[in-house]
Amino acid sequence: MALKGKKAEDKDIYRQQRIKRYMILMGITLAFIILYSFTIPNFVSIDTVTNLIRQSTVLTILACGMTFVILTGGIDLSPGAFIALAGALAAMAINATGSALVGFAVCIIAGILLGFINGLLIGYLKVYPFIITLATMFLARGLTLHITGGSRIVVSNEVFNALGSYNFRLGGVIVPLVIVPLVLMILLSYWLLNKSVFGRKVYIIGGNPRAARASGINVPWVTMLVYVYMGAMVGVATIITMGRSASAQPLAATGTEFDVITAAVIGGITLAGGAGTLAGTLLGCLLMSFMLMGVNMINIPIYYNYIIKGIFILFAVLTDEISTRLATLKQIRAEAKKIDRVPAKDDVDEVDFLGEFKTLSFRNINKYFPGVQALDNVSFDIQGGTVHALVGENGAGKSTLMKILLGVYQIDSGEILIDGKRLAIRSPQDSQRKGISIIYQELALIPELTVAQNIFLGKEKPGRFRLTLDIKEMLARTGQLINRLGININPSNRIKDLTVGKQQMVEIARAIDSKARIVVMDEPTSALSESDKEILFDLIRELKKQGITIIYISHRIQELFEIADWITVLRDGKHVITLPMSEVDENSLVRYMVNREIKDVFYRERNPIGTKILEVNNLTREGVFYDVSFCVSAGEVLGIAGLIGAGRTEVARCLFGLDRPTSGEIMLDGEKVVIPNPQAALQKGICYVSEDRRGEGIIPLLSVRENITAASLQKVSNMGRIIKPLEIKIAREYIEKFGIKTPADTYPIGNLSGGNQQKCYLARVFACDPRLIIFDEPTRGIDIGAKAEIHKLIESLAKMGIGIIIISSELPEILGSSDRIIVMAEGRMTAVLDNTKGSTTQEEIMSYATKLTS
């Protein structure tokens, strides 16, 4: 499916953006050159070039190192101070020994050691780089001032000073010697960043540290190396700085770090990490050097330097921001043009505030995102004062529709009507003011604030003078509310000290407390225990009595029959049907949702089972799961069923080395093994496909190819050098094999659809030759077609003799694909079921999954 040739290369959006940035930077540089050549006599000359090289070397070398640091998502404020410290130490060493060699060695070693300290603290202790390097900057600057007594140390060793000050003649042209280290460092950095495994790992860590870890990359180690590399650059820069002034100065290079960061930012490195190129940084350095040199030559006051620098930073980042915004806007407009708009009727009145109403109508709602039509002409009615269930698969458009109702997104076309009057929702505040409230699926509470503060968030009660808040009143009101709900929570407790279930209840209380006429509940029971669920349902019935409309989103079809009056099914952004709950049964509902029989999707042809690969005995992680024992053989599919929070994912994390078990043993091919980290797991052939695809799966800023090979870099490299043809070959092979629909292997993965991203992620896992694969919710959030494809893949893997563990909350998925099923409840195994004949039933699993073991 991969297109080949020139056209495919054009699809590399990031490259286009990069080139655009390079052009802008070169344009500005050129503008400076032209400006200066008119204002400064003899500006266009060899001397200018020589000067430029002399002045920009230190900046550029440091910027090379800083590029690595910022790409990992870090920052380094210490290089200026480190130059001073390394310089002082070197100067003392030279003056004591008289040896230039000792001087060079001291500079480099001191730089590396200082970088190592930064790296150790940032990589292994996981402290924020900004803070650590701030502290080491203080420390280094102070130490320097102390050991030098605040005065400069003259270094008269000519050999040592030569690097910074010597000029040689090349065909009549005077060339400063610093050009040699400058070019060397640039080449080294370029090679490391673009051709080596190390550089690739830097990009992966910056793009998605969790995915890096899951790909078997030793994140602390690589992070530390990055700071060590920065330290080495500092060492080289120290030698040059000292040579230029023939001395070590305690205040040398003050503020350089900000210049270096500025150059990198101008060059397009994003501070969040993962994006940017060395070429950009170099252009940034060039531009800055030109600007600063020109200002010096024109002899205008120094403060223009600062002002121009400030304007530059703003200019560089703002052009980026604006061009991205324009591009997105253009794309959205282009897609919106493709359909016939239904013009909003202007003669319709607008609703200011929701009172009691008969019908809430969605009319021809359309919503586009770049590349996707999330809602396609959706129209249906909701009766006021009822519980209206909204179902559909992930990606069916439920969340998008609700976010429109809540003002998070705006409608591209169509309208929402209340009893025939238009309901325009402009922002979340607007939606809340008009009487719409939501309980989110993901917890949307502020951990550091109290229960009362969270409940009143966004609608605080002002005190007597309007300036401050009436905290007593809010606490009391919260207490009443909580009493009414029959939950036992202290209103002045902080959210972070509550259990997940209690947090969910707080969230429900928050929605109920608002004077909402419409309450949207997005999977409200997912974190609730059975008894909490009953409390919730009682509440919903009470709200209904008060005439409040509830839109209830849930994947648990059984509970809909218990609570809902009406049901609407969405599929692929389109409205399928709206019915009273009494007129549907479970089977027809599923058919509406997926448009095919469930068992077809997950059906797998069984194959003979080979020898035992993995055996787990009494595996325990204190407080999480206890005494889990099972085994998996070659070609076998083992399903792990259970409710959310039963400890299934946690077992898998221990097998993959993401967590450590407290007791029990893991046997691989009959031998006891310890899996301390993902690298070890991958080496032993154990792979893990996470449920959290965005979080651990893909590295959004990198290309399809780089994503596929992220976990198997050893395979495509030789002595730390990435063999590009081999990498391309492997990547294309998997694109073909997995049917990944991408314009090119260089296409950014973030622009692919969810299903294709999932396939890339799977390709990354298979590229490291696994013997055992753990799938955690492999088909969550992808469309039905992709689901079927992924299960075909699982079938072929089992046939190849790979052992497979599937963790899934979808019972049909477990039943359709597993040979054996273990069921977990509250951290313990409650059953092992044989399913080789496909004879196990959903009821059987559910009875074990809800069985209390304690």
Binding site: L134, G149, I307, I313, L469, N483
Partner: protein, 327 residues
Amino acid sequence: MTKDIITENFIIKAIKKVPTQRWVAVGILFVLVLVISIANPLFLRWNNIIGITQQVAAMGIIALGAMVVIITGGIDLSSGNGLAMAGVLAGVLYLRTGENIAVLILGAIVGGLVLGIINGFLITKSNLKPFVATLATMALAQGMTLLISEGQLAFLTHPVTYMIGGGNILGFLSIPFAIFLVMCLITSIILNRTKFGTYIYAMGGNEEAAHYVGINITKYKWLTYIYAGFTTGVAALIAICRVGQIAPNLQGSFLLDGIAAAIIGGTSPAGGKGTVLGTLLGVLILGVISNALTFMNVSSTAQTAVKGAIILLAILIDALFNLRKSG
């Protein structure tokens, strides 16, 4: 049940609220004071303590602004140079208007506010990362400082400037420190008793959630940077009155000291966490250290190194705590 909760013993509640980390800071401060006063009993002299309070005031106010910004998950790199700019601006205006003291006070505060407004605009309206935006305004402020102060070398001799810079109330409370305490009080009220303060924590703790419940993120984030600008302005007033002259190098190490004090006091660089009490402790720790070092005849140059070491120590203790907590 509700009643019990509200009438729960205030002191117990206050102690419970103080996280372990804060006790570490208190411990450090206590040990420092103890060791230093044993080494040199003169340290505990009244004069010296008043001296410390005078020294830390401006930096402390900067630290308050830094803390508020860091709680929202941002950073303000422009406060140091902004302080110099506001101070110099106020000084120049003051001299030009015939030594009108109101102009000095207003000039400093307005200078700080303008900087805050610009920072807030860049961050909320232009969608820039706080680090980049304030990096740019830092450079701009530095240039402006030199531009405004160029050629001017004048002393501030008005008695009120002496008062603001080093006066006393009743002989025991230095005026700069009193201003700092008032700023602490204001910041504390904002953080704990107002909508704005609640939203500061909300934005840092979970910005998306804050947006969903209908908080106007743009407005409150902007306000946060304006408040930080305000603290910069007040600090500038104290700083210029202490120096008593228009000095373009007024920024000193205010920026980094301020951030360091906030962090030592337990403000989380990830956002969402931080208290005035903690920052006050952080400020005092840094103040006591540099005073004690001066007292013990440690050269001012070595003080920077010790300061770095202390910050590093505080971070390490914190990091080790967190590592253990997360297993």
